[in-house]
Symmetry: C2
Subunit: 287 residues, 2 copies
């Protein structure tokens, strides 16, 4: 299949990410329909011209017409959907996703999927701390990273199409990783950070602290407002990699604690210098 303005694109799940995809694609003149659970979300998207058509029904005709289907669902819901409704896809349909863990989801979906439909997995790294289509905003993709995670089952053509989808959506950097590499990386860069934010937010129950807080505490806990249904799934589906990163991080905190106890000023300074140097690698590219 080719991705052009006539390609029939169907988004399943119109939440904060699905909504952002819909807006970004529609703004560029693509043909976008959607299926989602709540009529109010379809109404919201139609009023704002984000989609051409939407329904709360799992409509065999709409699914059967789609050439590119984008799943923006929680991991377990995505897997269930494929199990139940994949019979409606037409042969040659390409499907992709936005799921934040890859190895288990990709393995499960690719192994159960019909042979005449291809699933090319991707992860747009541009989450928001709020959920729901009303918080969707295609601007968050600008300057952000988009990762395609193909397996041996994927064709070169599908990989290229998925990369160009990332470009159309406005992502600044498109990368390709294996699902395993992705999950190891995401355990550190995304899941560990959410773990830390939640632990920081819940480890001290003192009242009135908000009266004294500065920006650093606010920054470190922005993501402590967390979608518990989705993140508990993501954590558990990637728990081996995540636990490994938690252990490394806790080990580093314990190292700093030993430096404090022994009054090792030079050790602390060396660690802070390394931190400062390494952090400069992560400055957001100017867009």
């Amino acid at each position: 299949m080719k991705l052009d303005k006539n390609t029939k694109i169907l988004i399943i799940g119109l939440g904060v990410i699905g909504g952002g995809y819909a807006s970004a694609l529609t703004e560029k003149g693509y043909n976008v329909s959607c299926i989602t659970k709540e009529q109010k979300d379809i109404d919201y998207a139609l009023e704002r011209g984000m989609i051409k058509h939407g329904t709360t029904k799992v409509d065999p005709e709409l699914i059967g017409e789609a050439e590119l289907v984008i799943f923006a669902l929680y991991p377990t819901v995505f897997i269930e959907w494929i199990e139940k409704y994949q019979r409606y896809f037409k042969p040659g349909t390409l499907i992709t996703d936005v799921t934040g863990v890859k190895e288990s989801v990709v393995g499960t979906v690719q192994s159960m999927l019909r042979d005449d439909v291809e699933f090319i997995p991707a992860h747009p790294m541009a989450g928001r701390e709020r959920s729901g289509v009303e918080y969707s905003d295609p601007q968050v993709f600008k300057g952000a990273n988009y990762i395609v995670t193909p397996t041996k089952k994927n064709t070169a053509e599908a990989i290229e199409l998925c990369k160009s989808l990332g470009e159309i959506l406005g992502f600044a950097r498109i990368s390709v990783l294996s699902p395993e590499e992705h999950d190891e990386m995401i355990a550190f860069l995304s899941q560990l950070t959410h773990c830390i934010a939640v632990a920081l937010m819940t480890c001290n129950e003192a009242e009135g602290l908000e009266k004294y807080t500065g920006d650093s505490f606010r920054d470190l806990t922005r993501i402590a407002k967390i979608n518990d249904a989705m993140w508990s799934e993501l954590f558990l589906m990637n728990k081996d990699a995540l636990i490994k990163e938690m252990d490394a991080f806790v080990g580093e905190v314990e190292k700093m604690k030993r430096m404090l106890i022994s009054g090792d000023r030079e050790g602390l300074r060396a660690l802070m210098q390394r931190s400062t140097e390494r952090r400069s690698l992560f400055d957001k590219p100017t867009v």
Copy 2:
């Protein structure tokens, strides 16, 4: 003494905070001089009209005229300065500071200070990750917290004057805490967060991670660019309180790890719900 447009204000140390104070006060028509180490910083401030007068010399005449002296130095440098040069203050001078730890600094300075000079300590909670006057910006005080930490040695008049200084500087919330309460609070809200950011930045040495990072990792490590000379001092001067907070935090991370190992989805969700609820207390007040 009274704080009005004729009050002779002297800032010692024209860095990112001293510079912000200078700009904020001068913009409101106050009379601000400064003493700092580098002539280039004075030139920078004079060119931008941030101060009326500045010198790199510890000028007895300038110090002897000052009615309000604001110390914006590292803790140990502040203490040394008082030791060496307090003889130049005129009787009745009020001094204040911006130091990020209080108990040890306030105890040391108040116990060595002349009886005819009063030190009213304060902490403006609006640090930046860069140091130097060229990064100073009085806008960072807007919406931020300012904490006065008096002891029994302070007069009600000095406490009031220091609170009005915080208001003039543009801080959104002015509070009063004892030095001990301040240090306990700051160990959690500021020092622990800097610890975490440094540990997160240094616990994984993998190369190329910046290619895949999202905003959450960037947010949690913004303060990992850290002034190692200053923060190692702040950490060590408050190490008992900081170690207590580090232990509580690590305990919470270990609790999440146990939930992951046992597959306790409901436990994780409950923790995340508490985190989400508690984080909403910390949203920045609209200014």
